[in-house]
Symmetry: C2
Subunit: 444 residues, 2 copies
Amino acid sequence: MKKFNTSPISGAQELLPETQAIFNNLKNKIAEVYKSHGFFDVETPSIERTEILLAKAGGDTEKQIYKVVKTAESAEGASQALRFDHTVPLARYVIEHENNLAFPFKVSQIGTNFRGERAQKGRFREFYQCDVDVIGRESLPIAYDADVISTLLDAFKSFELDTPVLARISNRKILTGFMEAHNLTALSAEIMNIIDHAEKVTPEQTKVALEELDLNKTTIKDIFTLIELNGHRSTIVSTLNELEIENSTFAEGVTELDQVLYLLESIGLTEQITADLKIVRGLDYYTGTVFEFILPEHKNIGSVCGGGRYENLTKHFSEKSFPGVGGSIGLTRLFYILNEKSLIKSRNKELVDYAIIPVSEHEYDEAMNVATKLRDKNLSTTVVFLNKKLGDKLSYAAKLATHGIVIGESEIGAKTLRAKNFETGEENTVNIEVVSNPEDFWAD
Amino acid sequence: MKKFNTSPISGAQELLPETQAIFNNLKNKIAEVYKSHGFFDVETPSIERTEILLAKAGGDTEKQIYKVVKTAESAEGASQALRFDHTVPLARYVIEHENNLAFPFKVSQIGTNFRGERAQKGRFREFYQCDVDVIGRESLPIAYDADVISTLLDAFKSFELDTPVLARISNRKILTGFMEAHNLTALSAEIMNIIDHAEKVTPEQTKVALEELDLNKTTIKDIFTLIELNGHRSTIVSTLNELEIENSTFAEGVTELDQVLYLLESIGLTEQITADLKIVRGLDYYTGTVFEFILPEHKNIGSVCGGGRYENLTKHFSEKSFPGVGGSIGLTRLFYILNEKSLIKSRNKELVDYAIIPVSEHEYDEAMNVATKLRDKNLSTTVVFLNKKLGDKLSYAAKLATHGIVIGESEIGAKTLRAKNFETGEENTVNIEVVSNPEDFWAD
């Protein structure tokens, strides 16, 4: 018999059932939170026309893209490929369905994307991204930036992690305006890039990098003053104003940051957010608010969520203007990290609630009836149909379920049944007609 | 500006947000029902090694498979491809993780598969399949066949369709044994194929097809007698026994069918199931129980769910024996049909529960706080941040939400707010602190 390699392909997440249940639990929580904030979930096809995907992309993206071909076609001319993010398909979707959407369009997308990256630990070639975006037509009020950030913070809150989460927020207009005021616009891209990487190197290295751009000492000092600013609204906004930078872009950035921080703080998100002027989030895309989430007790992990405001979602596809703000949780990578650091609580609750164990085949029907009653009370229930000794059945049941109920001849028709809690070993008798949650079994 | 085709690729499902919400609702219900029956959800990668996918496949499957290539590779030698069903990846998964699984392994898989079929109405190239399977090691009790069927019936029940669902159940061993007893084993494949298609043609055409195999009249009459059998356990089993067919495979099939029907009927599934000896479910895969679900009021739709018992899930990958039983709901196709026939109830509940409408920017913070309170009570809530007239804000809100709450200067800090039901137009005042579900608004 031919010997096959049965491992999943390199760079793919494949989980054992108990771990998959924990992953699904996080994914479902994200979906619930997004929905609770009024985002409408949308699912675009995994496969798009290559020209759509590459309209904006370039460089690494084009190298990493997976083309999709039928047998005997060549990849070179392949007209279809797997999506590498949710943004490009969303842009296409908004153009295509514009007349059937209500703007601002609050949209969520939860699904896998594909990138043929070099395989390495914690990097995946197929990975879940859980995006929220608010898309305006012509204009979009700044309050939606706070809406997106508070939604993503709620998603993290729903995870009940064993560690706090912090949203670091900035506004790109502040740095842009600062450059304009210092006549550094020509070097803007280089300086932004250095700031974007400042946390990955020492302050000395950042200083050297800036010096290599022939910036003078005062300018470098001013840049350091700016990017070292962080804290709550009460201090950060006044400090920024005290810099007395005469530039309308700068002023606009400060006002927007002020508004976003104000709204977030006004709904009680004070400990969970901070302004931080070091946050840039890459060079290409974002034009106003930018944010990233970190786990402050595990700073080396880096960003666990990011996003921001962009000028026009559809700029590669249409002359129309659809400004937006959005953010994304890279769930596959995040889950990998959270597992590695053991930051996810309460694994056991992902087991089946009850295993019903008939002593012999004569009790199969009764066992199925008891199972139906438990399911009607929202308790997940499995029946163990095994032609084995009771001990073997019980040890199988204990692997799957938190509680076991044995049904033998004497239990048939009885309203009261024996139940065992597999975790504690505790045994009890229960009234099957009245049980409405697992706790009822151990009530008296 | 370059003009792009922004439609989704041909053969892909792409839904508007309100319709997507209904689709997601069905998908979530399936996931809940599968979980409630003790199935563990598993997700394998979308991309598999081509040799794994093609180990069993042939013919159409190979032609329809989507290869996945990086730029400049050719499709011919492509070593990876998109999965076309959940069965092959599950076989690989079971072999790969055998030592970490508890058998019988009750597993569900909900995700998209890919087939490059000719595009046509109601056929999709990327489509959701929602599978349940129970995989045994060496052996698997027949009761799991009933377990799978009852789980799938529960999934359909959860859809609350405007039409009943019927599970038609047979056992392949009955036909196989019948052929053996009539010395027709050499023609078995041809006869099975004719029976499999009998419902798509007239009885006369079926008769002609059997005559073309040189079967004599008595044999053809016996075949008709058999495949026209259908009904409840009470009649069907005795009728089968009265045929007095002396063959152990036939007898085994009757016993298994009897057991499956007995268990299903004993949990009250009498109206929802019927034995039907016409059911074959293709030629290759199934070896015992076979079933398909139909909507009896819409017979022309054909099967909306199917499955059965197979001898060995992993026969192409391993010498070990993993018998299984499973079934699948082809959700994308099913949803397309249900929509076309308007068989899905209650669309409106998929909107957001509340839209909070601040009169001006001064009420944004208060609006967000009210929204948070409603979300804490499990009510999905969106805040309308628009610099427009109140009338415009209300008409936007009415597109998204079932209820609207306007917050102006006078409402700030008030525990009592005005609320409007957009469906009925009814207005009321509500105590925001005590509301716990939408009904409370209209209680007094």
